[in-house]
């Protein structure tokens, strides 16, 4: 029952360390203007986001590490039904004589008390060392450039680059929140309730991580990259207030019309073309998510052999098919709707905009997307 499974210590962390140092070094070489970078990162209101990045990395690691430990246990128990019957099924230690529950007083209360003390100390030290910012008195006649929202809203503000304000400021945030709320209702997988797991919930966890990281990346772009005029300045590039960028902002239909289809510049073809494009984006997104949710785990060996990789891409996972069978049609469609609009349409538009300076993909007399 309390079998101790010896695990060899791995030296892989050393490799990681070297690789990350190399990446950081290479990035550092590309920085031109350390002063500019320092000015942005050390602005008091930006300290929290600077702090948050390592925190997110740490907690992602902590969560995935516990997932890996649980996954290993699950694997061992799947293979040995006898052990599965007798094992207490946790990675935490347990001995037959031990109580399964502890008294909250003092075992939990003291942990909470300690946490409160530590947080208080951190807050005091932080508040003594760093002053809250205070600019000049509000002046409607003197526009701040760039005028930025606090960091946690910069994701929203950054979205304004890619969509008209009614989508970026109203529709997308609403979809995001409603999407978050329906998350538990569309996840029909009964496994992994109350313990860290990757193996049993790869798709659900990756969908959340996708959204979460996308959000954080937008915030990072908004904080560290957007300069005066909301223009793109690489980190470490001097903010030039006189810079002018001649963006060849075009709509998708204009580009395609240039390929010998001039009627696309006229209504109603313009609008129909846009609707078709958005439709195609929706369908490809839907197909992609459908394909992705049925993939079994990608193993190292799959990546090394093209034949195996092809097999992986083509053949559905057994467990994944079982999960899909549990999902009701309503759950499936709801999931697809939010996944496509929030997790797919958005990055597609982002890339079209950043790489090809395309402004709209769908132009109508009433609204543009």
């Amino acid at each position: 029952m309390s079998t101790v499974i010896e695990r060899p210590r791995s030296n892989r962390w050393l490799l990681w360390l070297v690789v990350s140092l190399a990446v950081v070094g290479a990035l550092a070489l590309m920085v031109d203007d350390w002063g500019q970078l320092w000015k942005i990162s050390s602005a008091p209101d930006n300290i929290p986001i600077v702090m948050m990045i390592p925190l997110v990395v740490f907690f992602t690691w902590l969560g995935l590490k516990q997932s890996k430990d649980n996954d290993k246990l699950v694997g061992e128990l799947e293979e040995d039904p006898a052990l599965a019957k007798s094992h207490h099924r946790k990675t935490q230690p347990w001995r037959p004589g031990w109580a399964r529950e502890l008294h909250v007083w003092p075992y939990l209360v003291r942990v909470e008390f300690l946490a409160a003390i530590i947080v208080t100390i951190i807050l005091f030290v932080w508040s003594i060392l760093l002053n809250a910012p205070l600019e000049e008195p509000a002046n409607p006649n003197l526009t701040m450039n760039p005028s930025k929202a606090p960091w946690y809203f910069l994701g929203l503000q950054e979205m304004l680059v890619y969509f008209d304000p009614w989508i970026a400021g109203v529709v997308m945030p609403s979809l995001l929140l409603v999407g978050l709320m329906v998350f538990p209702y569309v996840d029909s997988n009964p496994l992994g309730n109350g313990y860290y797991s990757w193996r049993q919930r790869r798709f659900a966890v990756s969908m959340f991580l996708w959204g979460f990281f996308m959000w954080i990346i937008l915030i990072i772009i908004g904080t560290f990259i957007r300069g005066p005029g909301w223009m793109w300045f690489w980190p470490g590039q001097t903010w030039d207030h006189n810079r002018v960028v001649f963006d060849r902002n075009r709509d998708l239909h204009e580009i395609v019309a240039g390929w010998g289809l001039p009627f696309l510049n006229l209504y109603p073809w313009k609008a129909i073309f846009g609707a078709v494009v958005v439709g195609v984006v929706f369908v490809t997104g839907g197909l992609f998510f459908h394909w992705l949710m049925l993939r079994r785990r990608l193993e190292w060996a799959d990546i090394k052999s093209p034949a195996r990789l092809k097999g992986w891409a083509k053949k559905n996972g057994e467990f994944e098919e079982k999960l899909l069978a549990r999902t009701s049609i309503l759950q499936y469609l709801t999931f697809q709707f939010f996944a496509i609009t929030v997790l797919w349409l958005f990055p597609v538009k982002l890339l079209l905009r950043l790489l090809f300076t395309i402004k709209y993909i769908w132009v109508t007399p009433w609204f543009n997307v």
């Binding site: 209101d45 300290i47 929290p48 997110v56 907690f59 902590l62 516990q66 699950v74 799947e78 599965a84 207490h88 099924r89 946790k90 935490q92 109580a99 502890l102 008294h103 909250v104 007083w105 939990l108 209360v109 942990v111 946490a115 947080v119 807050l123 005091f124 932080w126 508040s127 003594i128 760093l130 809250a132 205070l134 600019e135 509000a138 409607p140 003197l142 701040m144 005028s147 929202a149 606090p150 809203f153 503000q157 008209d164 304000p165 009614w166 109203v170 529709v171 709320m181 538990p184 996840d187 997988n189 496994l191 992994g192 309730n193 109350g194 313990y195 919930r201 966890v205 959340f208 467990f319």
Partner: protein
């Protein structure tokens, strides 16, 4: 007259001494009573050495908190209004930081810190265009510990946003939003929005360039709300102008000015905290009703997954 010295240890019978004269009897009687009182006082003082045995203590705490028998440990939680949010006992592994990361608890603690520092700030702050900015300067330069107070309120607010996100992240990684906790997850999403709104409304209050432009940018988006904004799709068709649309309602005007400051202030100090407290009450109540913290639960196996009920 020479008073007679009483013999013995002073607790002599007063009756014996009585015939020796009235004055002498009085003194020795007083003395005897004094000594008796002293003894009583000493005996009583001994009982005060254990404050937990006093009536005052017992009236406040109702049960002993330092005895380790199970009954007392349970009562320590159940009979305390602040602690009775907790169950008497929890899953032994749930007390490890590694499972919840303590993030929900820390978020709540930060909310308390913010309420406390916020109330203190309210003593010095007037939500008017004339005074708001000066009050901040006053806090920074004249109020004892005013700068520390303002800093703590500011940084606790930023930290609370970070911890709320990490808390949500943990809930996802442990699958804790699954049945029966779906609804509490939704309550959490509302709390997330409220936390962000609290921060946002507070940002305007110093009435400086930073807050002014942040709120200008933020509320400009409201102009484009479909149907309810003067520049949103179908807004003009619905009769929206800059003077009656949703942005006007938020700001109490068509520009960010004194009404906006007042509205921000009221939302920030009263409206949203009250609503957030209500939602937190529901959130905590539901944690208990849903069976406490979800784990660390024993792992389930794929081979044990039951077929769907049709």
């Amino acid at each position: 007259m020479e008073p007679e010295r009483p013999e013995g240890n002073g607790s002599g019978e007063s009756g014996e001494l009585a015939p020796k004269g009235r004055g002498a009897g009085l003194v020795s009687r007083a003395r005897a009573q004094g000594l008796a009182l002293k003894e009583r006082a000493e005996a009583e003082a001994k009982t005060y050495k254990d404050p937990q045995q006093t009536q005052l203590w017992k009236s406040i705490f109702r049960v002993s908190h330092d005895r380790s028998d199970p009954r007392n440990r349970s009562l320590a939680i159940l009979s305390n209004v602040f602690l009775h949010l907790h169950p008497a006992k929890v899953n032994r592994d749930a007390t490890r930081y590694s499972f919840t990361w303590g993030m929900g608890g820390i978020t709540f603690y930060l909310f308390i810190v913010l309420t406390f520092t916020g109330i203190l700030l309210m003593f010095y702050y007037h939500p008017t265009k004339v005074q708001a900015f000066r009050d901040i300067l006053y806090l920074e330069h004249d109020v004892p510990f005013g700068k520390l107070l303002r800093n703590m309120h500011r940084w606790a607010a930023h930290l609370m946003i970070i911890t709320t996100w990490l808390h949500m992240f943990r809930v996802v990684l442990t699958g804790s939003y699954k049945r029966p906790r779906e609804f509490n997850w939704c309550v959490g999403v509302v709390l997330l929005v409220l936390t962000l709104l609290l921060s946002f409304t507070g940002y305007l209050l110093p009435d400086d360039q930073l807050g002014f432009w942040a709120v200008t940018v933020g509320t400009n988006m409201a102009r484009s709300t479909p149907m309810l904004g003067s520049e949103g799709p179908f807004g003009p068709q619905m009769g929206m102008t800059p003077f009656n649309d949703v942005r006007f309602g938020l700001l109490g005007g068509s520009i960010v000015d004194s009404n906006a400051l007042l509205r921000s202030y009221i939302w920030h100090c009263i409206g949203i905290p009250v609503v957030a407290s209500l939602f937190m009450a529901v959130h905590f109540w539901r944690i208990r009703k849903d069976g406490g913290i979800s784990g660390p639960a024993p792992v389930m196996l794929e081979s044990e997954m039951k077929a769907v009920k049709k």
